[in-house]
């Protein structure tokens, strides 16, 4: 049977979000100009989707864990993917909260080439529901990507996510920066997708027509029986050149999506040009979804070939951390600085992938990555939300560091949240950022990557400089220009969630880590039921 009633539980979050996207469009058709209602509908729906993800896990657990294979083995319904779906739903919720009135009243937002008056009338033609439904549908793509256990589901999830992000980056089409950002992202992203697809085709050829992860594992082990336990250390496999080339191309596609170093050139320009709430979304969501499928693929499907891919990934991780941090030092534009900082964080997260290549520590690595991703989106969305508030308060279209001089005197709360996010991004102990690095680094040390962890720690020290520089400017420099920052209630709620998360998980990381460990311990590869 290809489809059964219980399959609906597994994809309930995706179904809810898709339906919600359509509801949002029709609600605005019926009652135009009611952004608050749209936001409320989105928030409630996203919470429902997150709850549905958790409930689906409960239903599955009572039905007998590990035996079921849903939707023909296309997606996993294990604790790992449910954890990620909850992360992604929370990201979507925070983005919806901070996006309030982005399009309705933007008098302070100058446009480069169009007059102020005309721009206001143009902006009013854009409906809020377009934006919110794109956020929701992109989240659907991310959820499919994060839970994919089949190369076809992986690709379609990745494309759904990417196309949504191209549209979101260019949603302020009348602005040169926004449309440039969308075009750059589209062209380079399509190129990377082509590499990924070519890799999938080669793997398909090398494994006698397998796209399902479990089927690939079986094909690689040369036995087509599914009796091999996943908990056993995978035997060393000797890949054929065809398979190795396929893995290489797949690696390029995935590394592009997380903006690892040789493939990172798009990221600062796209981050800078996209509307700030979208940038926050871009820096958090795709990274979480792509890394989830990355660790599942390389830790659970291809660990036997880790002698081949680990050295490559080692070099890329080292480069990503170092280049990201070094270039971030020289940035005077806060949005670009955060873009390079997110490149550096992708490098730290690659440590978890590397550690997952070792079957003994792969669960610790996956748990560390889940914890890191949770903290990472809280810090990043918090920081970008403040950048967005400050940018709207200033009369300019760029994000110069000078705008932040003396912010603490005028806006103590906003400055405090940004300072907390930056300190957490730097990984200084009382904040959760410290523990997220600690868990990933310790997993990497257990897997034997001591040299790389030393590089990572040195990089963290370097990063302290540019994070704290901004904090120092906010607290030590005098206020240069008057500032009238307006904090909408929903943004305040989002900032509060970020603050509580960073502080709470920094003081008591145990609960979340336990949850992450349970999730990581449950990673499984469902078997296809139909051929």
């Amino acid at each position: 049977m290809a489809f059964s009633y219980s399959d609906l539980f597994v994809i309930a979050p995706e179904i809810i979000l898709t339906a919600l996207a359509l509801v949002v469009i029709f609600v605005e058709l019926a009652w135009p100009r009611c952004e608050a209602a749209l936001q409320a509908i989105c928030a409630v729906g996203i919470l429902l989707a997150g709850a549905a993800a958790a409930i689906s896990l409960g239903v599955q657990t009572t039905a007998g864990f590990g035996s079921a294979s849903f939707l023909n083995g296309m997606v996993a319904a294990d604790g790992f993917s449910v954890f990620l779906k909850v992360i992604l739903a929370t990201i979507a919720l925070l983005i919806v909260l901070i996006s309030r009135s982005y399009f309705s009243n933007a008098p302070n937002q100058p446009t480069e080439n169009i007059g102020e008056q005309k721009s206001a009338s143009l902006v009013s033609r854009l409906r809020h529901s377009d934006y919110y439904s794109l956020i929701l549908l992109t989240t659907v793509g991310m959820m499919v990507l994060a839970s994919a256990t089949d190369l076809v589901a992986l690709f379609i999830g990745l494309e759904t996510m990417s196309v949504g992000l191209y549209c979101l980056a260019g949603i302020r089409f009348e602005r040169v920066r926004s449309s440039e950002s969308a075009l750059k992202y589209l062209l380079l992203g399509a190129f990377a997708s082509a590499f990924l697809l070519f890799g999938i085709a080669l793997i398909y050829g090398a494994t006698n027509g397998a796209t399902n992860f479990k089927a690939i594992v079986d094909a690689l082990q040369g036995s087509f029986s599914s009796g091999i336990s996943l908990l056993e250390p995978a035997p060393a496999m000797k890949g054929t050149p065809l398979l190795l080339a396929g893995i290489g191309f797949l690696l390029i596609g995935l590394l592009f999506k997380i903006a690892a170093v040789p493939f990172h050139f798009w990221s600062p320009d796209v981050y800078q040009g996209a509307p700030t709430p979208v940038t926050a979304f871009m820096s958090a969501g795709p990274k979480a979804a792509a890394l989830a499928v990355f660790i599942r693929l390389f830790g659970w499907v291809l660990p036997g070939l880790s002698t081949v891919w680990a050295p490559m990934l080692w070099l890329i991780a080292a480069l990503t951390m170092t280049v990201g941090n070094i270039i971030a030092l020289a940035q005077t534009d806060v949005k670009r600085m955060l873009a390079y900082s997110s490149i550096a964080h992708a490098g730290y997260l690659l440590l978890a992938i590397l550690a997952a290549g070792n079957p003994q520590v792969r669960e610790a690595a996956a748990a560390g990555m889940l914890f890191y991703l949770t903290i990472y989106y809280l810090m990043n969305i918090g920081a970008f939300a403040v950048v967005y508030i400050i940018n709207r308060a200033r009369e300019n279209s760029d994000y110069q560091i000078g705008d932040y001089y003396g912010l603490a005197a005028k806006q103590p709360w906003v400055a405090g949240v940004l300072a907390l996010c930056l300190i957490s991004l730097a990984g200084i102990p009382p904040t959760a950022g410290f523990f997220s690095k600690l868990y990933v680094f310790s997993a990497a040390v257990k897997a034997g990557y001591i040299g790389l962890v030393v590089i990572a720690v040195l990089n963290s020290v370097v990063s302290v400089y540019y994070y704290l520089r901004l904090v120092v400017y906010m607290y030590m420099r005098p206020l240069e220009k008057p500032l009238a920052a307006r904090l909408t209630p929903t943004t305040a709620v989002a900032l509060m969630i970020c603050t509580i998360g960073i502080l709470g998980l920094g003081l008591l990381p145990g609960g979340l880590m336990k949850q992450a460990q349970t999730g990581a311990a449950q990673i499984e590869l469902p078997v296809p039921t139909v051929e």
Binding site: A2, L71, N72, L122, D130, T160, C167, S179, A182
Partner: protein, 177 residues
């Protein structure tokens, strides 16, 4: 016989693909792309997938290429107008990268000692394609519809912001149907 046909069609596709990027005139480029699509359709027939071949002709060579040509003509490019994006340095770099990828692909093929397992002769029939879509690949198939929905919403959202002077004539392109 099959090998000869494959070589002829394969070389045609590669040649047409090269011409797409080598010709300066966008209309000529688009026409060469059509040729490449027809060649691909012929390759699908050789692989025993006539249904996919028919779809390839109808969707790509038919619908999408007509759209391409319309857009190219609407853009109103003059013959002299060419893209001078490439400098000598970039061209050399591109050549090196392309050669590298070719080497990887050749190395990958070297490991193929035996041909892959033969597929069912029924593999390319409409019924088989439908069954694969609705049974084996049900979820990706449904998610693909979400992908298309995103594309529609995105295009409408972007085009709506164009100022009336910038928008092409005819309100239909506004995206509001």
């Amino acid at each position: 016989m099959e090998l000869i046909l494959f070589l002829i069609i394969g070389l045609t596709v590669i040649g047409a693909g090269m011409m797409v990027i080598l010709t300066k005139n966008p209309v000529t480029s688009a026409l060469y792309l059509t040729l490449a699509f027809f060649g691909l359709a012929a390759l699908y027939v050789l692989l025993g997938a006539p249904f996919i071949a028919a779809l390839q002709v109808m969707v790509y060579a038919g619908a999408i290429m007509v759209l391409f040509l319309f857009i190219v003509m609407l853009l109103n490019l003059r013959d002299k107008q060419t893209w001078e994006l490439t400098t000598g340095m970039r061209r050399a770099l591109g050549l090196v990268v392309a050669a590298g990828i070719l080497l990887v692909a050749l190395a990958a093929m070297k490991g193929l000692v035996s041909p892959p397992a033969p597929l069912d002769t029924d593999m390319g029939s409409p019924a088989a394609v439908g069954l694969a879509l609705y049974r084996r690949f049900l979820l990706p198939f449904e998610v693909a519809s979400v992908l298309l929905l995103i594309a529609i919403i995105g295009v409408v959202a972007m085009l709506k912001q164009k100022s009336p002077e910038q928008a092409p004539e005819g309100g239909g392109t506004d995206g509001r149907t």
